[in-house]
């Protein structure tokens, strides 16, 4: 996902001179193509995320679309108030780019585990969460975000994710993307966000949930809740999957979206990380296994 991100950003920056990239002293062997192509639009803020985020807001207030890149927890929790007050409240086009979403940095330990980031971001009314499930969706999200500049959170995996789309899909906030049709009756579905899509695909490749259609939801947030009822009601069973804690995560967002639809809520099954993984240090796959998500 990281490479798809930088390739697409370099491409978009060719025609969009407003795009700037800020990094918090991170991105070795990833961000150089942007830095080489646009040295005047690349800034290393140093290890100072609070300043980086407010500076990004300052740049955005003058017309830039600022991409702020760091490892998942640093451009989010480290500077939550800067995001809340300077970026989201002022509705400025800053895209917070978190690399290593979920447990992608499993062996680096809890400081690098982004398992509460949706919780933080989805509580902000003016924030669009962008959680692509594969490299094609990374490109799709970037195309959407640059053509609809606004406060946004782009959560990337790390590297090596499978391409599950044949081409770059066209996406809209709150609208599910179909990935595969099931072989059975069309009334069951899995809905994944972010790296949950790779987990769901693994399930199906392992022979589970073969009677479920597979969908991805790469763009969501507070303002897309009202779009969910119509999509859920087509299925008698819906399984949500995410590599985030259930608490204040994606599945909980779906539950809240259906708060006035108790019959639809009964159709939901929510798959998420188990809180017991917090503080554990192991590979991403191993920690998914500990949450019964493998």
């Amino acid at each position: 996902m990281r490479n798809a991100f930088i390739e697409e950003l370099v491409e978009l920056a060719k025609t969009n001179s407003n795009i700037v990239l800020m990094v918090g002293d991170l991105g070795f062997s990833v961000v150089e193509p942007f830095q080489d192509a646009y040295p005047d639009r690349f800034f290393n803020a140093g290890v100072a995320e609070q300043n980086m985020m407010s500076m990004a807001a300052g740049l955005a207030s003058e017309g830039c679309h600022a991409f702020v890149y760091s490892i998942a927890n640093f451009p989010t929790f480290r500077c939550a108030e800067q995001i809340r007050n300077d970026v989201a409240y002022h509705q400025l086009p800053v895209t917070i780019v978190a690399v290593g979403g979920g447990l992608a940095y499993g062996n680096l330990g809890y400081s690098h585990h982004a398992v509460q980031d949706y919780a933080l971001m989805r509580s902000m009314p003016n924030m669009l969460i962008s959680a692509p499930g594969d490299p094609m969706e990374v490109r799709a999200c970037l195309r959407y975000l640059t053509s609809h500049p606004q406060p946004s959170y782009l959560r990337l995996g790390k590297a090596g994710e499978l391409c599950l789309h044949d081409s770059v899909p066209s996406i809209e906030p709150g609208i599910w993307q179909r990935i595969t049709n099931s072989s059975g009756p069309k009334n069951r579905a899995i809905l994944a966000t972010g790296n949950g899509l790779q987990i769901a695909k693994n399930w199906q490749q392992g022979g589970q949930y073969l009677d479920h259609d597979l969908y991805s939801l790469p763009l969501w947030g507070i303002t897309q809740k009202n779009l969910q009822t119509n999509q859920v009601e087509k299925f008698e069973k819906l399984v949500t999957v995410e590599d985030h804690l259930l608490d204040a995560g994606f599945g909980s967002w779906m539950l809240e979206s259906l708060i006035n639809e108790p019959k639809l809520i009964e159709r939901l099954a929510l798959k998420a990380l188990d809180p017991s993984v917090c503080g554990l240090v192991a590979s991403q796959n191993e920690l998914h296994k500990a949450s019964n998500l493998e």
Binding site: A48, Q50, N51, S54, A57, C64, E81, Q82, N85
Partner: protein, 269 residues
């Protein structure tokens, strides 16, 4: 006839006192502390116009100590960014003139309230202007207690490293924090040396001296961000408010307002 900085500073004090009294709001001491700084900026320094508050070539003023907003609201109304009568809505339910500075008020660049946000935001703007070779300037008014926030020092490091000489910081050094003095809270001295060590061009001056402010705010120092350490008195202009922590919180009653206005009328005639 443009308003003089002295007349503007008087009007700021009068309006600020009336606003906080009516709204029963806090922070009058902090607003009186910067009344002269704000007056000099709007009367003599800033290239801003109420005719086009979003003009791309305007100078940008950011009040990082957003709790002192009545000083800026009063100045903006006085020079025509919005009707003076609107000041009466300060602190009312749903008023744009909320009790910490709001970007929804004409002429205000940025909402603050949480401390330590204004300087990093201003650095972003200064960086933009520098990269685009634009000659407008960025001014940020900071409180002294606000310098406890590390984000300011992160921002200053960046500004100095990138030689953002289009950035001017004005520190309202009234030496009182929320509960007691700076000295008893987290001492800032040697403050000038700290700014110098972080790469700023530093000037110490009397923050109530209009001539000194005008002279030192006029031209940037080439190659370095400028830090003006403005020595001020919290509550300046009202005898019973000066240097008293309680006026960080208390709003005047009608008798105190009358006394305060009388003193200002006499002193700034």
């Amino acid at each position: 006839m443009p308003i003089s900085s002295k007349e503007l500073s008087k009007q700021i004090r009068v309006s600020a006192l009336k606003m906080v009294t009516k709204a029963k709001a806090s922070h009058i001491g902090s607003a009186l502390s910067i009344a002269d700084i704000v007056a000099v900026l709007y009367a003599d320094i800033l290239n801003v116009s109420p005719k086009n508050s979003k003009d791309s070539v305007r100078d940008r003023l950011i009040l990082s100590k957003g709790h002192a907003c009545v000083a800026v609201y009063a100045a903006l109304a006085e020079i025509g960014f919005f009707p003076k009568k609107d000041l009466e809505s300060y602190g009312d339910n749903y008023s744009a003139l909320m009790n910490h500075i709001s970007h929804k008020v004409p002429g205000v660049e940025f909402s603050t309230g949480a401390l330590g946000h204004g300087l990093p935001f201003g650095v972003g703007k200064a960086l933009f202007a520098k990269k685009k070779k634009l000659d407008w300037r960025v001014f940020v008014i900071l409180s002294d207690g606000e310098l406890d926030e590390g984000s300011n020092w992160e921002a200053l490091m960046f500004a100095a490293h990138h030689q953002l000489d289009n950035l001017t910081m004005i520190i309202d050094y009234n030496k009182l924090q929320s509960l007691t003095s700076i000295e008893k809270t987290l001492g800032l001295e040697p403050l000038a040396d700290k700014f110098k060590a972080f790469g700023a061009h530093v000037i110490d001056l009397d923050g109530h001296d209009h001539l000194a402010l005008t002279k030192n705010l006029q031209a940037p120092e080439v190659g370095k961000p400028k830090a003006i350490i403005a020595h001020t008195i919290k509550g300046r202009g009202v005898s019973f408010m000066e240097n008293q922590v309680i006026w960080h919180y208390r709003s005047p009653n009608e008798d105190q307002l009358a006394q305060a206005l009388k003193e200002i009328e006499a002193h700034y005639a």
